[in-house]
Structure formats: structure tokens, C-alpha cells
């Protein structure tokens, strides 16, 4: 991780690395891509790194003894080390998954598999009387797997609420997290509200009660410097495609001692120790959790994405996004009939700005924006319970990243005004 530097942020130079950003959409409108919260775009150095790997060293890793296999294994493990260092952990604690969703499922399934996986796995087992705590602002990826775990095991799901101003409601933390709690799973940064949650506070209470903490870091790791070891969480996940890397790759971090005790999830080749028809034993982590031929070139691409982020500096990226968020919140707040869903200021808040427009449905706002070349997301953004809690069926979400420009914020605000005008409701009336 780099520290804040005084080099000015040259967004034009950054944008030049992203070929897609120079395309036009909808009859020649320049693309204004404000949907990085769903998936980010990829810079040329990432695309080149992946292609170079495929054209020179591609082969099955950890399986072959020939030169290509050596080179491929080195590249894959080098990527793992790079990514581990990026989030403050050691390489042996990084498991490659296809996306963050798989990582969360891996932990949730380990906890039901623990029932039949022998004494070592006992600390993962859950059953009736045990509780899993999540929050009402979770992405479905950090909610449904826990619901399903409860369904499989008879454990009970409980959850934190959300305050009026879009923060985690900690008022009942001591009733929610008790000695019955086995896992507390929460987002580092909400993918709708932009809220950055007080992970340390929750982790402290969870650990006091002997619960494991699973952090959904999908929306934090891409945007500011994150150190899992420092945060003290037990598990964490993030996705490559949200941080300039390829699709099809994600990371599960697990504290080494936990990974060592955790039963396998997907099973098959490369994760075994001994296989007999009568039964099998398993390799140490991280291999134990990487069954089958892995996402080799994608790991290399994600490693290159981390190099790219490091070269720019996470502090500088965060500062740039902070400024964008500030401008967007200001611009939208100034529009009559527009309400921000989430904190209205930038304290403990990322550059994801969700909002609703009185009397114009989010889908219709999105359509008008799309017609102007502005790509936002509309709907519940895989956080349906949060929208219900906020009393809205859906919202419009603009999510900014390092390649967005201040002028794009202004284009967005003007676009929202245009939607109000087009539908002849609210705003200007």
C-alpha cells in the first residue's frame, strides 16, 4: 500500500488505459460509466498481462513437471502473493474462488459439512440453538448463503437493522451478538448506501462472544487500502472484477489456523492428499479449497490489477473518489424531489450514491440516463431487504471509480434533471 502522495491525480492519463471508456453508446453519446459497483472496467496492462500469460506459459498449475507447468505455477503463486500483500495477509491465507459469492458459500458450507467432517472441524459446526448474525444492508451474496446454512442446520438467523441516515444500527449489538452467535457476517462498505461499517466495533464484540467474523469486502478492497490482519476479521471475500481484474476470479481470505481446521467444500483434483476408492484425505490450505484446474490466467490478471492499483496508490484513489462522492451528493441533494438513499455526507462513506426521484420510477430514470450515455444501475442492486427497510422498491445507483471525472458527475446531475423534465413530474414543477 502506498501512502498519500502529492502527485496530482491525472484522470485523463488513467482513462487512456481503459479502452472501453472511449467508446460511444446510444447513437454517439460518449459513455459515462457509473456502474463500477456492479463491475469495473479493465485497463490495458491487465489485459496484456493475462494475454501474455496465455500466449507464453499457459498450462495446468501444480500438476505438471515440464517447463510451461513450472512457469504457470510460478505466475499463479506470484499473483497470490501479490494479492495477499495487498490486503495485509500471507499468501497461504488466500484462496482463489470464482467470485466473492463462492467464497462466502465456502465458509457457510464448511459449517454444515463440519457435522460429518471429524473432530478437527468441530469449531465450525452449527446447529439448533446457534445463531448467525448478518445485517439488513447485506448484498444477497452475504445473506442468502447464511439463510441456507440455517435451513440446512437448524441454526437461527438474526440481523442488525439500519438507521434512518443509512448507518448500521448498533444500539442492540449486545443483544444480537451473544454466546449463541457462531458467525457475524457483514459488509465492509454497503453496495447501495456507500456506508463504511464500523468493522472493529462489531469484531470486538463478536470475538468477545467467541463468534467468527466474515467480512464482505467487495466494495472496500477496490476503493481504499484495506488490511484484513489489522481489522482482525476471521474471513473476508472480494471479487476481481470490481477492482480492474478479470471476471471469474475472487478471493477468500481465511486466518491460517482457521483454514487449517476448515473442512473442504468443492472436492476433486489438486485438493487431495491421498485418494482411495474407500475414502480420501485432503491437502493443506489453500490447495484444499481449490479443487480442479483453477482460474489461472485470471489470477495473473488480478495480480496485474493489484500492481496497477498499487502504482496509482490506494490513498490517492480514495481521495479522488471522495471528491467525486462529495460533488455527486452536493449536486443531487440540490435537486428538488431527489432523495439520497444512504448518508448525505462523505463521513465513513464511499463513492456509491443511490437515490430516488419523486414520482419517477428508478427504471425510468435509468432509461433516460442511458439515452444520454450514462450507465447507472437501477433496481434493488441485490440488496432487496435493505430497500424494503428503506420503504422503497428500488433505487438508482451511481457508483464511481478511479477513472471517473468530475464532469461526469455533472452529466449525471443534469441527466436526472432531464428525467424529471421528461416525465413532467416533481423537480422543476
Amino acid at each position: 500500500m502506498t501512502t498519500t502522495e502529492s502527485r496530482p491525480w491525472d484522470v485523463t492519463a488513467v482513462r487512456a488505459d481503459f479502452p472501453i471508456l472511449s467508446r460511444t453508446v446510444r447513437d454517439g453519446k460518449p459513455l459515462v460509466y457509473l456502474d463500477s459497483g456492479a463491475t469495473s472496467q479493465r485497463p490495458t496492462p491487465v489485459l496484456d498481462a493475462e494475454r501474455r500469460f496465455v500466449e507464453t506459459s499457459n498450462s495446468a498449475v501444480h500438476r505438471g513437471a515440464h517447463q510451461l507447468a513450472e512457469e504457470a505455477t510460478d505466475a499463479y503463486e506470484h499473483a497470490r502473493a501479490t494479492i495477499a500483500a495487498f490486503v495485509g495477509v500471507s499468501a497461504g491465507e488466500v484462496v482463489f474462488t470464482k467470485n466473492a459469492t463462492e467464497g462466502i458459500n465456502m465458509v457457510a458450507y464448511a459449517m454444515s459439512n463440519a457435522a460429518t467432517a471429524g473432530p478437527e472441524a468441530a469449531r465450525f459446526a452449527v446447529g439448533p440453538g446457534d445463531e448467525i448474525v448478518v445485517t439488513e444492508m447485506e448484498h444477497h451474496a452475504n445473506l442468502v448463503p447464511w439463510q441456507q446454512l440455517c435451513q440446512r442446520t437448524g441454526a437461527t438467523l438474526r440481523w442488525f437493522g439500519v438507521t434512518e441516515d443509512g448507518r448500521l444500527d448498533l444500539s442492540n449489538i449486545d443483544e444480537l451478538i451473544t454466546e449463541r452467535t457462531k458467525v457475524v457476517a457483514l459488509a465492509h462498505q454497503s453496495n447501495v448506501l456507500g456506508t463504511v461499517n464500523p468493522v472493529e466495533t462489531v469484531t470486538r464484540r463478536a470475538h468477545e462472544q467467541g463468534a467468527l467474523v466474515v467480512l464482505d469486502a467487495c466494495q472496500s478492497v477496490p476503493h481504499f487500502g484495506v488490511d484484513f490482519a489489522e481489522l482482525g476479521v476471521d474471513f473476508a471475500v472480494f471479487s476481481g472484477h470490481k477492482m480492474l481484474g478479470p471476471s471469474g476470479i475472487g478471493v477468500l481470505y481465511g486466518r491460517r489456523s482457521l483454514l487449517e481446521a476448515m473442512p473442504p467444500f468443492l472436492t476433486g483434483g489438486s485438493m487431495i492428499e491421498l485418494v482411495r476408492m474407500e475414502g480420501s484425505t485432503f491437502a493443506p490450505p489453500p490447495q484444499r479449497f481449490e479443487a480442479g484446474v483453477p482460474m489461472t490466467s485470471q489470477a495473473v490478471g488480478l495480480g496485474a490489477a493489484v500492481d496497477y492499483l498499487n502504482a496509482l496508490g490506494m490513498d490517492r484513489i480514495a481521495a479522488h473518489e471522495h471528491a467525486l462522492a462529495e460533488r455527486a451528493l452536493e449536486g443531487l441533494r440540490a435537486l428538488p424531489g431527489v432523495r439520497i438513499v444512504g448518508p448525505e455526507d462523505t463521513t465513513d462513506r464511499g463513492a456509491t450514491v443511490a437515490f430516488v426521484v419523486d414520482d419517477v420510477h428508478p427504471h425510468d430514470v435509468g432509461q433516460v440516463l442511458d439515452s444520454l450515455g450514462i450507465a447507472v444501475r437501477v433496481g434493488h442492486h441485490c440488496a432487496w431487504p435493505l430497500h424494503r427497510a428503506c420503504g422503497i422498491p428500488a433505487s438508482v445507483r451511481a457508483s464511481f471509480y478511479l477513472y471517473n471525472e468530475h464532469s461526469e458527475v455533472d452529466t449525471l446531475v443534469a441527466g436526472v434533471r432531464e428525467a424529471q423534465r421528461f416525465f413532467g413530474f416533481g423537480g422543476n414543477s
Binding site: H363, Q367, D370, H380, P393
Partner: protein, 150 residues
């Protein structure tokens, strides 16, 4: 892109002044449909009188497209023989799946032809079909008169 090609006046009119809106008694079957990508939902009731669609009533929340198309649906099917209503359902579905390539038949679809532009936007096709799917489902349930609440 021409916004007006999607949001034709007819659509906006139905959106602002929806026809036959509100849930009414009596009814033979009800269907609840939801668009999982955006959370839009509709509850729709059907009353048959012999082979005739005696009433269709509905409530829900959704975008202009889903609201307007459900409003148009009620115009098209209330008071019609069921087979004719089902024919309109087929025609409207076909139009929406056409990616904007089909030439809609105004005799069959009346105001429904205004949705031809929507068919060019795959993400909005589900919106346009939401009420229609509820109608189809509810008609299917009239024999058993179950109520679906997922």
C-alpha cells in the same frame, strides 16, 4: 437513442392515468408476480363469466412501462371472450420478444402497439410483460382458484 420511441405518448398517458386500477371483488383467481431484477410487483385478479373475461383488477408498483402495459391489458381483455384475450396475450408476448423486428397488428393490440419500441430494450421487456404474465397465471388458476403468494 430516441427516448420518445420508447416512451410513446400512449404509454405515458396510461402511466399517468391508469385504467381499471385497484383490486376488486369478486374474482376467481389472483396472481402475484415480481420482477426479480428490480423488485417491481403486481397483484392481479381475474373474474370470468362463463367464457368471458368479466373483470381484471390489479395493484402494484413499478415503472412506467409495467404500469402502462397492465393498464393497456385491461382495455384489451375486459369484456372479451377468453380465447380472444389469450390471442392478444400471445400477440403482445410475441411483439415484446421480437427485439423490435416485428410489425405489430393494431387490430389485435390497439394501444399495445405503442410498446413496439420497448421491445428494442431487452432489460425492459420483463417490465412490459409483468402484468401480462400475471394475467396468464391468474387465468391458469381459475380452474383451481388457488391464490399464489410466493
Amino acid at each position: 437513442m430516441n427516448l420518445e420511441s420508447m416512451y410513446q405518448e400512449i404509454i405515458l398517458d396510461h402511466y399517468k392515468n391508469p385504467h381499471a386500477r385497484g383490486l376488486r371483488e369478486p374474482y376467481d383467481a389472483e396472481s402475484f408476480q415480481v420482477n426479480p431484477t428490480c423488485g417491481d410487483e403486481v397483484t392481479l385478479r381475474v373474474r370470468l363469466d362463463g367464457d368471458t373475461v368479466a373483470d381484471v383488477s390489479y395493484d402494484g408498483q413499478g415503472c412506467s412501462i409495467s404500469q402502462a402495459s397492465t393498464s393497456v391489458l385491461t382495455d384489451l381483455v375486459i369484456g372479451r371472450p377468453l380465447p380472444e384475450a389469450m390471442e392478444k396475450l400471445e400477440a403482445f408476448s410475441a411483439l415484446m420478444q421480437s427485439r423490435g423486428e416485428a410489425e405489430p397488428d393494431e387490430d389485435v393490440l390497439e394501444d399495445g402497439v405503442a410498446f413496439a419500441g420497448v421491445a428494442k430494450y431487452p432489460a425492459r421487456v420483463k417490465c412490459a410483460l409483468l402484468g401480462w404474465m400475471a394475467f396468464k397465471d391468474a387465468v391458469g388458476r381459475t380452474s383451481t382458484s388457488e391464490v399464489s403468494t410466493p
